[in-house]
Symmetry: C2
Subunit: 198 residues, 2 copies
Amino acid sequence: MITVALLEKYGGIRKNYKSDDFIFKENSLALLYFQIISGEVKMNNYNEEGKEFIQGIFYENQCFGEPPLFIEQVYPANAVAVTDTELIVITKNQLLDMLQNHSDISLKFIKNLSQRLYYKSVMAAEISSQDPEHRILRLIDYSIKQLNFKKETAGFHIHFTRQQIADLTGLRVETVIRAIKSLEKKGDLKIINRKVYR
Amino acid sequence: MITVALLEKYGGIRKNYKSDDFIFKENSLALLYFQIISGEVKMNNYNEEGKEFIQGIFYENQCFGEPPLFIEQVYPANAVAVTDTELIVITKNQLLDMLQNHSDISLKFIKNLSQRLYYKSVMAAEISSQDPEHRILRLIDYSIKQLNFKKETAGFHIHFTRQQIADLTGLRVETVIRAIKSLEKKGDLKIINRKVYR
DNA sequence: CATATTTTATGACTTAAATCATAAAACGAA
DNA sequence: TTCGTTTTATGATTTAAGTCATAAAATATG
């Protein structure tokens, strides 16, 4: 999103997290802007029964957790480091200061938020009313478009675990496993020693 | 969002729609910025079986359909007038032109998009993994906070039909009807001659 | 390298929501 | 005021996904 150099100019400091560390927790007030230098971060919720729902997974150069920052709200979800992760962090005031001086960055935020809202819209319609197979295919296709999936000879390698797919679509692991098998049979995707390709 | 005066200064024109008219359709390219002068607009999808999913309902002074506009995408959903509606419309270029000259409006968009992303995040977690009653209560509570529901003596009047609640939560009418009754029994809301209060 | 943990896999069973059918209220329009 | 439509309502039945149990394969870790 924003160059590290510019973030540092506005007071950005680097922070390191180990895999599974919480970066922030649901219901805490948003006060900081986070951007990933290296690593992988997921935002998630747990419902009453302890089932995880993954709101999104974020990678290098991406930011996360800004919506509540802009609207003075508490976080609607946790942020957790999926791998060891280095972030650069600035305060809300530093960010607003930067936005005032760099109108191009405002537009970047507008585009970034639009992109994510678009994803949520597509997935909302899917999750609410489609069968599991459809839901999984849409998630996969969207992820290929948006995330850094590598094209291999067998197709795009979907580097999600079945559990992650379940948590991203609101399904159960077993359902995902069965649905993926069924999708393979129909020729919609390939499974080569347990890895999923599309 | 933006004052009508300013929109007109940048070439805004008024357009009128009758109840149930389409304003735009899913999969068409986003080229215009729409803001409601009066009336009510819903954005929706239909899945393969024809079941409707309502992405959101918008009222006076609200805009809708900008995310695909900012990211050069097709609309992820239809926009339909729920009542007779008057809109003010400007082109994408006119809007970008305006944003360049009015940095405060950029921030307004950032906040607006953030707000909507926040809603989608909350509802995504709900829809994916909660039981119908929980889902409905969250929708109602969110709608009270965000939309113009009037507080009456019995509480906030939820002016959604059971069908609309079903379409907003991804449930079926019958399920919503039964869940609302159950919620009334538990004292979570009131039903006074078929109207729902919270 | 051996052991522990995670991920994928599968069958049997349960359950909650969808589906289907039917109808009574409420509302709108002619 | 009547007729047609929409909304709310309720019972019976079906079904697809969840749940539970169990295990093999793969991967990580000391």
